[in-house]
């Protein structure tokens, strides 16, 4: 009932096209995250959906209703702003009740709903305070309470966690997910943080320069990115890319870079058959490059000699910034590694989990799980 549909929506600001032919269906009760770098158009999409700005072309539907010409207040949506947008001159109770009062609900009903929303978010004890007397985390909860109290069909959240400190962000992330499950309402969530997208979303839409690059579940985007942009954006630290020529030798397949050669595992070799002799773009995630001495069992990795530039100890793992010839790579290795900055070491690259891209179009040709080769 509260499905959302963007149908070939375009948004222009003068000459600039902030959204180019934007089409996206968000199913009822789904938690959809729009993610992308700043200026990619994700907030614009949200503002169009909210009715804060008109679409230049195309249709926007909420439920079965075309809402292009419906004013924001009649769209049955609630929005949580990045700045929280709490009214500083009203108490917390006043803030939460504001929308209900404007809709002239009976007083008992308002009180009941405000109380319920406050309980849901655990802010009952703050009701008489002003927003200026609250911490960032508390304000964030009030903003959420103000949104849920109206019981809207669709929730819009515009980078709601970006003003919180790191620890609070992790907690609130989990709370928003719980809230989504409890309310059973459609959530549209905008963020530039791929971690938030990965941890909270049912589905993620990755955007760049006003276009959707890929829509899918977090796992799908991680394992089978459609192109270089998505592959580089999803996953932290980001995927390594390197160019190498595909060679056939002794009935097997080799990847030849400037200074290195890696033998492709037997089961991935057929995918490369049609690219023999061509220089292709390859992607390997940092977690698929291991210290040769501490390669997990069951992995058929190929050795790669590299020079270590920087080591970063994260506690449970070590990030190695290495170079093999002109190719710079980041490896996420076992903390017991003996690799030291400025010295050579041997890594083991799990090429079974490599991604193959067309170097010109940057589209994916083969990804993890060979069956999922993308058009």
């Amino acid at each position: 009932m509260a499905r959302v549909l963007f149908d070939h929506v375009v948004k222009r600001y003068g000459e600039v096209r902030a959204l180019k032919d934007f089409s996206l269906e968000i199913t009822d009760k789904e938690f959809l995250v729009l993610v992308g770098p700043s200026g990619c158009g994700k907030s614009t999409a949200l503002r169009l959906l909210a009715g804060l700005e008109p679409a230049s072309e195309g249709d926007i539907l909420i439920g079965e209703r075309r809402v292009n010409d419906v004013p924001a207040k009649d769209r049955d949506i609630a929005m949580v702003f990045q700045s929280y947008a709490l009214y500083p001159h009203m108490t917390v109770a006043g803030n939460i009740a504001f929308g209900l009062k404007l809709r002239k609900l009976p007083k008992d009903e308002i009180n009941r709903r405000v109380k319920q929303a406050a309980e849901t978010l655990g802010v009952e004890q703050l009701m008489e305070r002003k927003p200026g007397q609250l911490s960032g985390g508390q304000r964030q909860r009030i903003a959420l309470a103000r949104a849920i109290v109206r019981e809207p069909a669709v929730f819009l959240l515009d980078e709601p966690l970006s003003n919180l400190d790191a620890k609070l962000r992790v907690n609130t992330r989990a709370e928003i997910s719980k809230l989504h499950k409890r309310l059973g309402t459609t959530f549209v969530y905008v963020t530039h943080d791929q971690t938030e997208a990965m941890t909270m979303a049912d589905r993620i839409a990755v955007m760049n320069a006003g276009e959707i690059h890929q829509v899918g579940s977090p796992q799908e985007l991680y394992d089978r990115p459609k192109n270089v942009f998505v592959a580089g954006f999803i996953g932290s630290p980001a995927m390594n890319f390197f160019k190498a020529r595909v060679d056939s030798a002794d009935g097997a397949m080799d990847l030849k870079g400037n200074t290195f050669t890696m033998r492709v595992p037997r089961d991935r070799a057929p995918e490369l058959q049609s690219y023999i002799g061509r220089e292709m773009l390859f992607g390997v995630r940092p977690e698929n490059i291991h210290d040769a001495q501490f390669t997990p069992t069951g992995i058929n990795a190929v050795p790669l000699d590299v020079g270590v530039e920087v080591t970063e100890l994260m506690g449970n793992e070590v990030f190695l910034h290495v170079e093999a010839g002109e190719t710079k790579l980041l490896a996420r290795v076992d903390p017991r590694t003996e690799a030291q900055a400025g010295k050579p070491t041997q890594l083991a690259v799990d090429l079974e989990r490599m991604h193959l891209f067309d170097p010109d179009s940057e589209q994916a040709l083969a990804t993890v799980g060979a069956a999922a080769a993308v058009a």
Partner: protein, 299 residues
């Protein structure tokens, strides 16, 4: 305030703390300068104030400071005479009747206009706002004769209504300019959030913008009230010399005309006329300072 603070800081600074001492010494000249400026501003006013309690003959023969050594010569006679025989009480009331509505109306109209210029999209908004700002540079003297002729035709000369309209009109360009710049600096999210929650423009104006703009509105109120209260030119031109509608500024200037050198009455009248603005200023001075700064800091 500067005079009270300067000695306090030097007294508090421990002599053992060389850093503080150095700071006090380096700031010394600044404090002396501030005190000197304050005194230079205050002494004539003090002189006027003392004179308002002296006999006319005393004022003519000796300086006001001589009265400080013989306070027994001071009395309230000048005030009694001004208030009860020169019609100052009536003028005080007239000034209020003119200034209060002229101030409130200006704030109301300017706030509504400033809201539209900040938050309602319409064609020609920028051009219209530029026009309003451009009106700031038109000298009001230019308008006196045409407006007076128009007033004469419609019968607004010599009426309070005519004064209200004139003062609101003259005050609006600055008022709209000041408030628009304040309103537009309010966080956009607040207004958008209100619209999403079902607020109309009027609700957003009344429930969000006005409460958040109290400092700017108060500052504008003080400005406009002082301007109207102290106005002589507009009152003389549009009201004429009639004593029944004359505000205090007109009555005071008439005192000079009819009494020539009646200094003692003039001083008392002047102090009666500044009492109310002073009271308002001190009551609202917190907003006054905030209001001037708020726009600058926020923008």
């Amino acid at each position: 305030m500067a005079t009270a603070e300067a000695p306090a800081t030097t007294a508090n600074a421990p002599t053992t703390n060389t850093g503080r001492l150095a700071r006090a010494v380096s700031r010394g000249p600044l404090h002396v300068l501030i005190i000197a400026v304050c005194l230079a501003w205050m002494i004539p006013t003090l002189g006027l104030f003392v004179s308002s309690f002296r006999e006319g003959s005393d004022i003519a023969t000796s300086g006001w400071w001589t009265a400080l050594s013989s306070p027994s010569t001071l009395n309230l006679e000048n005030y009694r005479q001004v208030l009860f025989t020169q019609g100052m009480a009536r003028s005080f009331l007239n000034s209020l009747i003119i200034a209060v509505p002229a101030t409130l109306l200006t704030i109301l109209v300017a706030a509504l206009a400033a809201y539209a210029f900040s938050w309602i999209e319409f064609r020609g908004r920028e051009a219209l706002f530029l026009l309003v700002v451009a009106l700031l540079v038109v000298p009001l003297q230019l308008t006196l004769i045409p407006v007076l002729r128009m007033y004469a035709t419609v019968g607004l000369t010599g009426t309070f209504t005519g004064m209200w309209i004139a003062h609101v009109a003259y005050g609006l360009p600055f008022a709209v300019f000041l408030l628009r710049n304040f309103f537009i600096a309010l966080p956009k999210d607040l207004l958008e959030s209100a619209f999403l929650e079902g607020a109309s423009h009027f609700t957003a104006f009344w429930r969000i913008v006005v409460p958040l703009s109290v400092p700017a509105l108060a500052a504008l109120g003080i400005f406009q009230f002082l301007w109207v209260w102290n106005d002589l030119l507009i009152a003389l031109v549009y009201l004429g010399g009639s004593a029944t509608v004359a505000p205090m500024t007109v009555t005071i200037s008439n005192l000079v005309n009819s009494f020539g050198g009646a200094w003692q009455l003039l001083t008392a009248a002047a102090f009666i006329s500044v009492t109310l603005p002073l009271l308002i200023f001190f009551a609202l001075q917190r907003y006054f300072v905030e209001g001037i700064l708020a726009g600058a800091v926020k923008g």
